[in-house]
């Protein structure tokens, strides 16, 4: 009884300990910049004409009509909506309230729609194809990001995602060609990812080498090794070593008939369906199971985890291997689904984008997936716009995905805190 009297309850703390009022003007400032860009592009430099959005593919069951949008009118509406959202953001920031993620998302969607309409004026944009390519570019990024999340949550920075993807792509191409089985190639890709991870784990956990340095070295090593093997072995024996069978498309009945998004999401190869499962499983396991609790404990406060009897380094070792398996599976997408062969450095930096997605996604598998999708969507968008005859030069269009990712990471996410012990080796004293 006496203890309850002695210890004041949290809500009874004196009011002068109120949290400081912090006004963050970042979000309204970004909104304002985009609104001004919108005014310049869509109104001042507005293009006359009509933009058509083709919402169905030729094989869809439910055919939607082609939507015709008058370009300048849509631009003006987008600018007005952007200005209103900016005003809301200013008002919220003035009263020191956080701008909700919903408002930010709405702003991004509205602005993107305006940009699309403006850039494709006088042309037709095929939306299902745009989404299909967006998923296609995102698949390795999502697998890579999931691998990154698992590894970082347990306290090991995984810079080697690029190497894991590339090793997966290479090994799956060779194994699938030799065995004539895409599925065996897929499993081999996971094994390749595990092997890359094993080096990372041994050096960073057992020998306490700086995790970032090991990761970077591993990426360089895998690039060099696959380049060497490709030019010395694969290039001259392409039919026997580098002609893997590829996964067939397995449309899911009913779901693939959903207009607009159905074909992109549910008329895919098995790798993509496994990816959906992986996203859910990683999220569920991290936040709803005992395994996940342990992983997070080890990543946040290894000493505390050790005191309650969790073997910190063993947990880290196994989960880094698991992360490699997930990222390696993403590599298989290049060789077994995107194009049926391995080419030199086919990942082209996807692993680093996946790493950015991990941070952008605040070490949460679902948000990291969204971040990867954002990158995939903007990449795909620039190809669709180039094909539709956009006035924007290709060099700028190629920058778009990176610009959007940087803005999103730096601007809208702001400070994100990773697992406290990530990057720090655990030495049991």
């Amino acid at each position: 009884m006496s203890t309850t009297v002695a210890t004041p309850r949290f809500d009874e703390l004196p009011t002068h300990l109120d949290r400081a009022v912090v006004k963050s003007w970042k979000v309204p400032a970004i909104f304002a910049v985009f609104t001004v860009v919108g005014i310049v592009l869509f109104v001042v430099l507005g293009r006359n004409g009509v933009t058509h959005f083709n919402l169905s593919t030729s094989t869809d069951l439910i055919k939607l009509p082609i939507a015709a949008v008058p370009t300048r009118g849509a631009g003006i509406i987008v600018v007005i909506v952007s200005a209103v959202l900016t005003a809301i953001a200013v008002a919220l920031s003035y009263t020191a309230r956080k701008v909700p993620l919903g408002v930010i998302t709405l702003f991004a969607v509205v602005f993107f729609a305006g940009f699309l309409t403006w850039a494709a004026a006088g042309h037709t944009l095929a939306v299902p194809g745009l989404l299909l390519s967006a998923i296609g570019i995102s698949v390795p990024l999502i697998f890579g990001a999931l691998g990154g999340v698992v590894s970082e949550r347990v306290g090991v920075v995984n810079v080697a995602i690029e190497g894991q993807l590339l090793a997966g792509a290479f090994v799956s191409a060779v194994v699938a060609t030799v065995t004539h089985q895409a599925l065996i190639g897929f499993i081999a890709a996971m094994v390749a990812g595990v092997l890359v991870s094993a080096i990372l784990a041994v050096f960073s956990i057992t020998y306490l080498v700086d995790q970032v340095i090991v990761g970077v070295v591993l990426n360089v090593l895998v690039i060099g090794l696959t380049d060497f093997l490709y030019s010395q072995v694969l290039a001259s024996n392409a039919p026997t070593l580098n002609a893997p069978p590829h996964f067939p498309f397995l449309p899911i009945p009913i779901l693939s008939g959903i207009p607009v998004i159905g074909p992109a999401l549910f008329r895919q190869t098995i790798i993509v369906y496994l990816m959906y499962a992986a996203i859910f499983l990683v999220w569920f396991a991290l936040f709803k199971t005992r395994w996940g609790l342990r992983v997070r404990a080890v990543g946040e406060h290894p000493t505390a985890a050790d005191t309650v009897g969790i073997n910190v380094n063993r947990t880290r070792f196994l989960n880094v291997l698991l992360a490699g398996a997930i990222a390696g599976a993403g590599g298989a997408y290049y060789s077994l689904a995107a194009s049926p062969l391995f080419t030199r450095e086919v990942t082209a930096g996807a692993g680093y984008i996946a790493l950015a997605a991990v941070i952008f996604g605040r070490w949460n598998p679902l948000l990291a997936t969204l971040a990867a999708l954002l990158f995939g969507f903007t990449s795909s968008l620039q190809f669709s716009l180039s094909a539709a005859g956009s006035p924007v030069p290709s060099e700028f269009m190629l920058m778009l995905p990176y610009v959007v990712t940087i803005l999103a990471v730096a601007g809208l996410v702001g400070h994100s805190r990773g697992p406290a012990a990530s990057g720090k080796p655990y030495i049991k004293s």
Binding site: G129, A235, Y334, P391, V392
Partner: protein, 355 residues
């Protein structure tokens, strides 16, 4: 006289040296006899690839084959080094300079800057650089191609074949030797439209603004596939992907689309370099890197190196359009005759290609 170990060693060395000298004297005449054509003494042609590597099924590979065939004909040796990244260019050239190469061929526009620097530093060594004519130095011979002339024929053929009235093209990176293909292709389509009073559209390249669709690299990855997919969505039924292996992604996107779409190959006759795409290969726009390298090497070997650019065009067969192979029966029956006429008109200057 006492025989000491050192004296033995000295005399042994002297004997060996005399033997080597004599052997050298004896063998010299036979060596010159085996060489068929007159080759400048000490001539050593060398080659540096760009980061595509010599196994790219494309211009590095063809260039090396040209060098090797010339060396074989001349009965001389050659050296070649591969660049695995852009940071390899300058060290690779320096390495070949150190190995006493007398002619260094740098394959690709991306080596232009490194070649220029090396040529300025080594005025006694000759350089030939493929796909770049920006360097004006007494010891640099640019090897360039009127790829647009061949692509013009490719565009004409594509427009003729297209059923949907839309043809597409995209490139790897927007650099002059890539853009020139896209431009020629689009002009060929425009010429077809004018001749036949048709309205075949080109997606992926705009001749007015000189902008188009690019994958941002030369890897057959997800981006190249997305670029092809975007053109399939624009209803294109002939696609012309320009840039090494990116056509492989386009080929897979075409096969997965389930539509009857074809593609046009680039650099080599892809029918032979990659049999897996034969079923969707309409034709190829060939760029004769091999023949031109061979010609330049032979010229330099005879001591006639010149800074005058070697320009491969339709007239000297430095560029050309490959046969239709499996599609010969599927193209318009009059197409081959029309293409011959267009080709003759380009050579005679009746049709001007390029901007």
């Amino acid at each position: 006289m006492r025989i000491t170990p050192s004296k033995v060693a000295v005399s042994a060395l002297a004997t060996i040296a005399t033997a080597v000298l004599l052997a050298g004297c004896a063998s010299a005449p036979t060596a010159t006899k085996t060489t068929a054509s007159p080759v400048v003494k000490g001539f050593l042609p060398c080659m540096v690839s760009d980061n595509g590597g010599f196994d790219d099924h494309s211009f590095n590979q063809i260039g090396l084959e040209g060098l090797q065939s010339a060396a074989k004909t001349l009965g001389i040796k050659e050296k070649h080094v591969q660049s695995n990244s852009e940071s390899d260019y300058a060290p690779n050239i320096a390495n070949l300079v150190a190995q006493k190469c007398t002619l260094i061929i740098t394959v690709g526009f991306n080596l232009a800057a490194a070649t220029k620097a090396a040529a300025a530093a080594n005025p006694s060594i000759d350089f030939a650089t493929i796909d770049d004519s920006s360097t004006d130095a007494a010891n640099v011979e640019p090897i360039t191609f009127r790829s647009d002339q061949a692509a013009f024929l490719g565009g004409y053929a594509a427009a003729s074949y297209s059923k949907t009235g839309v043809v597409g093209t995209f490139g790897g990176i927007s650099i002059p030797p890539v853009n020139i293909f896209l431009e020629g292709y689009a002009e060929g389509v425009a010429y077809y439209n004018k001749q036949k009073n048709k309205d075949v559209k080109v997606v992926g390249w705009n001749t007015t603004t000189q902008t188009g669709s690019f994958t941002g690299g030369f890897a057959a990855g997800t981006e190249a596939r997305a670029a092809a997919q975007a053109e399939i969505d624009q209803n294109a039924d002939v696609i012309f992907p320009v840039g090494g292996p990116i056509y492989q992604s386009a080929a897979q996107a075409i096969k997965d689309s389930g539509k009857s779409i074809v593609m046009v190959g680039v650099d080599a006759d892809v029918y032979f370099t990659d049999p897996t795409v034969r079923s969707i290969l309409l034709t190829s726009v060939e760029k004769g890197v091999g023949t031109s390298v061979s010609a330049v090497v032979k010229q330099a070997a005879a001591g006639k190196f010149t800074k005058t650019p070697y320009v491969g065009d339709l007239a000297n067969q430095g560029v050309g359009l490959a046969p239709f192979h499996d599609f010969a029966s599927k193209v318009d029956s009059g197409l081959s005759a029309e293409l011959d006429q267009v080709k003759a008109d380009i050579i005679s200057g009746k049709i001007t290609v390029g901007k």
